[in-house]
Amino acid sequence: MATSSVSKGCFVFKPNFKKRKISVPIEDYFNKGKNASEDSKLRFETYQLIWQQMKSETERLQEELNKNLFDSLVEFLQTSHSGLWKNSKDWSCEIKLREIPTAALVLGVNVTDHDLTLRSLTEVLQNNVTPYVVSLQAKDCPDMKHFLQKLVSQLMDCKVDVQSKEKESVQVIQKNVHYSMDSLSAWYMSVTQKTDPKMPRKKRTSSSQWQSPPVVLILKDMESFTTKVLQDFIIISSQHLHEFPLILIFGIATSPVVIHRLLPHAVSSLLCIELFQSLSCKEHLTTVLDKLLLTTQFPFKLSEKVLQILTNIFLYHDFSIQNFIKGLQLSLLEHFYSQPLSVLCCNLPEAKRRIRFLSANQCENIRRLPSFRRYVEKQSSEKQVTLLTSDKFLKEETQSLLENLHVYHKNYFLVLRCLHQFTSSLPKYPLGRQIRELYCMCLEKSIWDSEEYASVLQLLRLLAKDELMAMLQNCFKLFQSSSGKELGNTAKRIEEFLAQFQSLDAETKEEEDTSQSQSKGLQKTDLYHLQKSLLEMKELRSTSKRQTKFEVLREQVVSFVDSLVREYLLPPDTQPLHETLYFSSAHTLRQHLNAAPRIALHTALNNPYYYLKNEALRSEEGCIPNVAPDICIAYKLHLECSRLINLVDWSEAFATVVTAAEKMDANSVTSEERNEIIHARFIRAVSELELLGFIKPTKQKTDHVARLTWGGC
């Protein structure tokens, strides 16, 4: 093999012809995998288009969500140093001058998203506050020297884009200068003086108003910095603060307390800390889902299981939006890769156009869709025949079905949001607090069959008027904002309900009046009569209770909501052609995103039949046939042992099993040689188990190995 050697471990392969040779376009990989499947090029293009749209949409969302945080940060940064420079004679300012303004930015545990947030923060700061923004990571700064080195080199880089002429001299400096805070502040002085006249020309409007823009240092992962480096740096830079206006931003994943745990009081007193909190990642997820999936903007949809898996990875594993998006990308890719009809997964006019050009093969694919077959079965027999025989008719029908599907989605999301308005504030949240939970339930099955839905209706029947009205108001706004024609009626209905509720107000007042007057009439009686009449009144009220107008109206509202749900929130798999838009292969997604290597290993070792479909390997649970691969037998035997394993016993046992298996084979070789071979096989199996990490050599006892797992058998 070209890649095995006893003297080196890396092998470079560089094709000797010109490497700029036209590389194979990616689309080729897309279609070759599925041997010449339909429309692969088109599908790949659609994939890329949708993915680009989704990606830019998420980026936009991210920006939007961070806007508040960034605004307040920018404000903080702008004010923190500007005061100092104006009246530095003031005594209090003298003290303040020793304190480094610090923003503690609590970013949450989703470490993977921090990079993106901080990158956009850097951008914002560079545009609005100062060109000198440096971000450092703990892994780059094991000690003070590296810390300063990184800081200086990045600062120089910042400057380079202001004046690229000096690039060469900068690089000379980088190599020779012994990094110190002194040199840094000297550099800063020279730079600010030099660039000052140039600043206005550069159109850095906000930064040019100060003669000296501050230097912002972002510590991306504050928790992982060495305490000593941080302490030293803070003490030193606070000494230089008057000539080197530094501002720190700590990126914190856990809680702000960590600052005080890392820094002793003497050091933290040199900081003037202000706390900033980023948006929680759950809210972020909600927004992303809202804008990417609960919308008709993107035709691509996830089935219930897929969505469930993605949210579960998010909630139980990492809280990472990035990973969620990655999962989304993968499902999009898988959908377009594996479903030939995904070519119809685009906006409606385009899809209609594409239907006209579908090949005969693709028409066959449509006919094979389970949802389409179900649809056909419901049609009259003549129509069935034409649908199955005439491609032209089929295409027309597909067009109208696809249109229906789009309309269905439009209504679906409106009604879903409306239902969410009603359910999100109920006690105990029977249908979930977040809209994604509700969405999942609705995707899974007809929601009105569930117990939770029944209890929701029950709870709605107990709502007070103001709550109900608030919900209706919200729904009204929802329906009004949408341009849909079909649900225009609904908005009107809601408006009517609202009006009726308002008119109720006047009536109830009258009622109250009458009841008050009644109670007045009772005043001058004795105790016995009073009790009696009170009892009577109570009975009267309980019987008349059903008749109050409010309750009748409430009942109407509830049944109205119910009818909406039943009409529009049909699960998507009832819709013909839903397979073109919905990605449902949850199993693939799980396998690639959240794999379980340990399980795979165990299965392969414990139940080889699962992989090697040979009848000889078929066995009952907890037992393994003796013809199984060597490593499986060795593994099975080692499961019997506790912490330590005697190699001799193990090898004897192994030999016993293997010989028994061989007896059935030809008895050709001599027994001595056979034993040798069996021993060699044992050695191989053991060293493979060692490589896999099940055992390791131990010195506790001669010729023993330690088992690294426990349990088993």
Partner: protein, 471 residues
Amino acid sequence: MAKLASELAKTPRKSVLLNMKNDPKITIDIPQCSKGHSSSDKSQLKNNDKSEFLSTAPRGLRKRLIVPRSHSDSESEYSASNSEDDEGVAQEYEEDTNEDILSQKIQAQNREVSAPVFRETPSKKMKREKTSHLVEKYFEAHSSSKVLTSDRTLQKLKRAKLDQQTLHNLLSKVSPSFSAELKQLNQQHEQLFHKWMLQLHLGFNIVLYGLGSKRDLLERFRTTMLQDCIHIVINGFFPGISVKSVLNSVTEVLDHVGTFRSVLDQLEWITNKFKEDSSLELFLLIHNLDSQMLRGDKSQQIIGQLSSLRNIYLIASIDHLNAPLMWDHAKQSLYNWLWYETTTYSHYTEETSYENSLLVKQSGSLPLSSLIHVLRSLTPNARGIFRLLIKYQLDNQDNPSYIGLCFQDFYQQCREAFLVNSDLTLRAQLTEFRDHKLIRTKKGTDGVEYLLIPVDNGILTDFLENEEEEL
């Protein structure tokens, strides 16, 4: 173990285990198989086993009577719902990596077409039971400091350690089994090559896991798909590999001359280079990303950063049971993995060949012959000194905290045996030993030098016997 072995041996195709399990009075019978041994050897072996099992049998039996029972119960509970489609697969997500084997198996078995159905409540209940069960097992295994195993050693077995070459020769005589199935398995994996290329180009990186060497598979991937691309193959299992050498080969591709001050500098240079030139494409194939040399935090960080570059495509394989623990969330997002299960059942021939295996003779340590050879060339006094040290070490061989003989004590002993007259002469002798790698010195916690012979005790015993014979 012997018992299980005999059971396995007796049950070639069907399981008799269940019947056997219910009969607690199974006698230990090793089939007449070990013809290679002399009969006395065999009987001794038997006795040994018996005595051992008398002590451990009650526990072992109990365990096997109970455990498989609950096992099969739970299995049936799940398999009943197996036939339905894959609903609620997601429920299993709450389960952590420290997963119980039972559920692992169930999950894995159902992976193929029908994913398992986990109803909410039973699965939760099951899980609690399972975890407690698992915890118990851990403490069962680690409760007593004494572990009952037999005292037999390979030395007594009279089976010499094989060296790499003979091992290889012996193994080549074994005819491979299930080749048809293995071939089919491999073909399944090969069908994924195009998909891998696609996904690599779209910004994912690919990691392969599963039992069996994935070297051949990756090699085939390389030869079929990557012939026209620049690519680097890295053998993670190679004992001399380091991140530095990985980076060096990347810079070699980029035609860099000169050196870098640090690995981080080099990484930065590479990063810039790749960011500047978007037409540059590089495939990295890493066999055994989880190998001893690459599994360190820093190495993984650097490789992760490399792989996060847009035009570097990484496809790697992992084998170790706990390999995924190498990566925290930050690293995982750098790698951007897509996991692919590629169980091949191929032997890890190349991976285990770098003389780190348990039973293979290690040429790095001193075999008996060279020991004798070196000692013969020394003066009688020097030989005496060395013998003293050997005896002392053999006397202490059962002491697990033995770290060596303290220099002062050694000197004292040598003086008493009239072997040296000053500690300078002793030191001169020791230097000679050290040059021949016969001893190793180590500073103890108290700052005193300790001397140790880095040779297996068995060899030392042989050596002493040999010496005595000569005398």
